[in-house]
Amino acid sequence: MWTQQFRRATRHRLLYAILTNGGNPPSPPGGGATRPARLGLPRPHARMNLGGTLAATAPRHEMPLKPSSFLLSSSLRRSLLASVVVRKVSPTAAAALSPMASASTVAAENGAAKPTETQPVQVAKRLEKFKTTIFTQMSMLAIKHGAINLGQGFPNFDGPDFVKEAAIQAINAGKNQYARGYGVPELNSAIAERFLKDSGLQVDPEKEVTVTSGCTEAIAATILGLINPGDEVILFAPFYDSYEATLSMAGANVKAITLRPPDFSVPLEELKAAVSKNTRAIMINTPHNPTGKMFTREELEFIAALCKENDVLLFADEVYDKLAFEADHISMASIPGMYERTVTMNSLGKTFSLTGWKIGWAIAPPHLTWGVRQAHSFLTFATCTPMQAAAAAALRAPDSYYEELRRDYGAKKALLVNGLKDAGFIVYPSSGTYFIMVDHTPFGFDNDIEFCEYLIREVGVVAIPPSVFYLNPEDGKNLVRFTFCKDDETLRAAVERMKTKLKKK
């Protein structure tokens, strides 16, 4: 079994290396076709987290993925991370990997072009959980094959004019210097007003709202500000990748409860067994990426009871709250007794199709906001000023904007759902977000990564293999995530390709 794992892992590294080498197989360790090393250091042969060789458009996705780490033993996994510099990944090399030893550094320092066999990486231990991004790999493959991208979770259409104009106006009016650290007052107020409308909760914009560089930073600031090393935090798998990585950065001890098809409901008894007085926090994402599940009132109340009983914090990522189709979005903070222990996170990007603006926020009672703000002020210090002014305008959009948003996305969803069903997928119901989870097993592939590669190469459509969003990737290997945050033409073209080219086994 180990050999099988190693073989698959090697194939993935090979695939990755081929992509990042622009189609050429990687050269053997020691140089060869790779660029000459600068300063006598060996060139990494597999580039991780490649910024992209394309001018300006290599997307910074919203959901960076791990490689097929589930196929690797944990020591090999660590070496894959470190294989940025380690060129020959053998079991012994992996085991030998350690923080940089002075000797090898000094040798390289002399300027001699002496690539060492296993050059250790002198980076912090917290990076052990930070894996390379299959997503980048998929995107490169997609471009290579001219595939239609229903993988990336951001729109290929743009935001509303009135918001963009507000930003331009703000720039011209000179709003280009540091904003108040926790947010421009106008935006904090707009966020509080919107939250009142959505949840019925009245919050103090000065003391309970913190503006961050996107919801990603709200999550990072919340975790770094409120979690101690060794704290136990419970997640629901599949989870947005940054949760686990950021928690590991904070030294937390992560437990995951798996949501399973067909309805991805919370396994209540399993959750109850997992929560104890040792639990520091539970993280939920509702509406949920990647399944589209929306936590029901019953589930939220059950979780709330456990939180209150065991004095547990609740971090709620509600970034898709305006994309709720089949059910009403309920904020955990509005469940009785929960506001005092909840951080509610959200952003502008998804609701207003301006994912690149990086305007997000965290709403929490003052004693929790303080921790969030401490971390935030040392992560980014302040959030982009002109965009904050525009965000305030955006959040004051009339109800008609949100109704139209839901209607438009609803139509796209129907388009994709029907198309996927016709193509032969088993389609699971998605109540919210702009994602749909389907089962790909009718097409006869062993796992999601293999299926997604086939989908790109032979069908010309990109989707995301979600196994990397689970602590145990086996749980996700039958599933695929599609997005419908694309213009209609793109969706139709993708559906057409899948209907004609996908072959059931």
Partner: protein, 393 residues
């Protein structure tokens, strides 16, 4: 529930700079405290941002062109050969680049040397990463690097040295000799150097900004951080970067992606225009800031401050209190705010060493001069009036 706060966040106190700023705001003081301009950003840069928004560059983005331009600049200005494809992380400001660099390199218990006085953010980033900041005092009055003190600060747990040059709050530009000392020590002790070079284009007289990474043996172990903010007067745009050798840059990018995922897209586009400004732009920048520096030095000297060290770079002057005033820096600043309506920052917030000679800790006030002529004139007027009033008393 306060018991639920993380230990790291509890060690962190709100910024004394920000608190005084609130006081200054309340009384409507002329703000020479916070280091951001009150004059407009350059028109060509703003126009580029507006154009980017209008042209729909509003989704998650990594603008590779920024790295390409920066690589060329580093070659031209510092003789550095960097790979634009692998050696950069574009972040939300130098703030985030620095935080990501720290998180990428510092493990629990790792020591990080920081020159004192120091910008307040470094310490907290290091502590958030469970590292230990170790302060190396620079010697007044000229804030020279004391080689002995510096070398004695290293232990076998020292992982990195932080170098901010041109320097906030003193305005010092580290000399070639000082950089050599730092470089030799970093190589001997096998540590990282993490630089903050945000004031790189704001230097005075014959002082030249030298990038530590350009010294022999240093590129491999130096993480450069900088940003658009100070050079192009757009502190609110949050576009900065880290530059390091490929494997380190990759680690920094991994962290950055988890902290914020990407820097604001339209401003990345605008950065392409900002970073390719003509040489005229930079010479004007220097000329204008030199004039402001000279103006404020005159203003402070007239008031009675002792300018023991003329800023060689940055947008700050670290003015020394007259002994005869018999006031601490905090008291003087409060007095300036309430009696003159001029805000500045007490130097004590920048000093951290708890051993050795601390006599200078309360003897300095930092003034920012990245302000319009109107603002500087108003400040000068108010200080003159206060001085006259006091003389009469």
């Amino acid at each position: 529930m306060e018991a639920k706060l993380s230990e790291a966040s509890r060690r962190v106190a709100p910024s004394p700079i920000q608190e005084l700023s609130h006081l200054a705001q309340r009384v409507g003081a002329v703000n020479l405290a916070e280091g951001f301009p009150d004059f407009p950003a350059p028109a060509h840069v703003k126009a580029a941002a507006s154009a980017a928004i209008a042209a729909d560059h509003n989704q998650y983005r990594h603008v590779q062109g920024i790295c390409d331009i920066l690589a060329k600049r580093m070659k031209r200005d510092h003789g550095l050969d960097v790979d634009p494809l692998t050696d950069f992380a574009i972040c939300c400001g130098q703030s985030e680049a620095f935080a990501a660099a720290i998180f990428a390199t510092i493990d629990q218990g790792d020591e990080v040397l920081v020159f004192d006085p120091a910008f307040e953010t470094y310490q907290t980033c290091i502590e958030l990463a469970l590292g230990v900041p170790v302060y190396v005092p620079l010697d007044p009055p000229s804030w020279t690097l004391n080689e002995d003190k510096f070398l004695k600060s290293f232990t076998n747990r020292t992982k990195a040295v932080v170098l901010n040059s041109p320097h906030n709050p003193t305005g010092k530009v580290f000399s070639q000799e000082e950089l050599l000392i730092i470089a030799r020590a970093c190589q001997k002790m096998d540590c990282f150097a993490i630089t903050d070079e945000v004031y790189e284009y704001i230097t005075y007289d014959k002082n030249k900004h030298i990038s530590l990474a350009s010294l022999p043996g240093m590129q491999y172990r130096t993480i450069i951080t900088s940003s658009l903010s100070k050079t192009y007067s757009v502190t609110g745009w949050r576009i900065g970067w880290a530059c390091a050798s490929a494997n380190i840059a990759s680690a920094i990018r991994n962290i950055h992606v988890k902290l914020t995922d990407s820097a604001p897209a339209p401003f990345q586009e605008a950065a392409l225009v900002a970073l390719t400004s003509t040489p005229d732009f930079y010479s004007s920048l220097k000329k204008d800031y030199t004039a402001r520096r000279d103006f404020i030095l005159q203003m402070l000297t007239d008031f009675g401050f002792h300018i023991s060290f003329k800023p060689q770079g940055s947008i700050f002057v670290f003015a020394e209190l007259r002994r005869s005033w018999q006031l601490s820096d905090m008291d003087l600043v409060k007095s300036l705010i309430t009696n003159a309506g001029v805000a500045a920052v007490p130097g004590c917030g920048f000093f951290h060493t708890s051993t050795g000679d601390q006599s200078c800790h309360h003897r300095y006030v930092r003034f920012a001069f990245c302000k319009s002529n109107d603002t500087l004139n108003a400040a000068a007027q108010k200080l003159r009036k206060l001085a006259d009033d006091q003389a009469m008393m």
